[in-house]
Subunit: 204 residues, 2 copies
């Protein structure tokens, strides 16, 4: 089998979840990072014209979650039990929705920075983000991993999402200590830990 | 095993794909439709507060695509080959993105109906919808099904999405005759055909 190539921009963004899982499972891959200046030209050869894509067996697989699920399967992080696998999917899709909602507010063209901050603090956090984190907190309870009793790609997806959120909202760690401890645990897994210590330093 | 219960509004929307697959595979299920008037009360007992959910083995599974993938697995419509399964995921996620983009335009609060129509016709259709349909058309070629050489839930997802698009933009059928023929084929599968002939008559 030819080596996998994960093509994305020079950022964590939508590729970092797959990078963590590949590193955790010691699956060799090329971590190709396209510079913004080269993107208009490169884009022409990317079906759908969006990154990330995973080059695998000579084919281009698009869509970050399709890539992540494929990598999770390879990495032994996709539960065999169909209902456990489905709850992983549900967690991952829910996280995606909540992050998309956040970026919708952050990128709104018709709002000032002040207004955006106010909406994030007074509407998004209490009505969207906190209820999700409370549900996750409750679901984790005293368990080690989120789905069933084994580590799964849901744990990776939650920890990777929380890495981003904790860096922007450090208060969340005090409010959700169990989720913080879980994120730390995933970030300290063999393979993931070394990757985080040595990965390219990018703002997001 | 207890019977599945698919809970959604009285609409095709985000539940119809799973309904088609359940009917195709002759998997018994309760097709519960929540009336809008009852929703504020019902919502309190739905984790995450969104529909559809699938009640399965006493648990509530949210997220339409997590539900659809779980149903696809049960229905024998999820490819065994991991790369084929991944390309199904990529197709399904891409269709979702393109439909979300359409609704973003249709639901824009700061635009008139005239402006929305213009954006849909002059920007969305040539730049987003047509390129996707051209790629799908090319991928289908002279094959019977989209992924590999067997029917999969990608075929169901494409046909269900196209059902909605053809009903609003009948010209698409002339522009993409192979996709139209494929949609017709899925809609005429045993189980699906009878369902479509007898399902509740809802506008969307």
């Amino acid at each position: 089998m030819t080596e996998l190539k994960l093509i994305y921009f020079n950022a964590k963004g939508l590729a970092e979840l797959s990078r963590w899982m590949l590193k955790y499972a010691k699956i060799p891959f090329t971590d190709e990072r396209v510079e913004k200046a080269d993107w208009p030209e490169r884009k022409k050869a990317i079906p759908g014209g969006k990154l990330p894509v995973l080059e695998v067996e000579g084919k281009m697989l698009p869509q970050s979650l399709a890539i992540a699920r494929f990598v999770a399967k390879k990495a032994g992080l996709l539960p065999e039990d169909p209902l456990h696998a489905a709850f992983c999917d549900a967690v991952v899709e829910t996280l995606r929705d909540v992050i998309v909602d956040m970026f919708k507010i952050k990128n709104a063209e018709d709002k000032s920075e002040e207004e955006k901050k106010k909406i994030l603090k007074e509407e998004y956090m209490p009505n969207t983000l906190f209820p999700l984190l409370e549900r996750l907190d409750k679901r984790l309870g005293d368990k080690e991993w989120f789905i069933g009793d084994q580590i799964s790609w849901a744990d990776f997806a939650i920890a990777r999402t929380m890495e981003g959120l904790f860096s922007h909202m450090p208060d969340l760690a005090t409010k959700f200590p169990k989720i913080k401890a879980h994120t730390d645990k995933v970030q300290n897994l063999p393979g993931v830990k070394e990757w985080i210590a040595t990965r390219p330093d990018t703002p997001s």
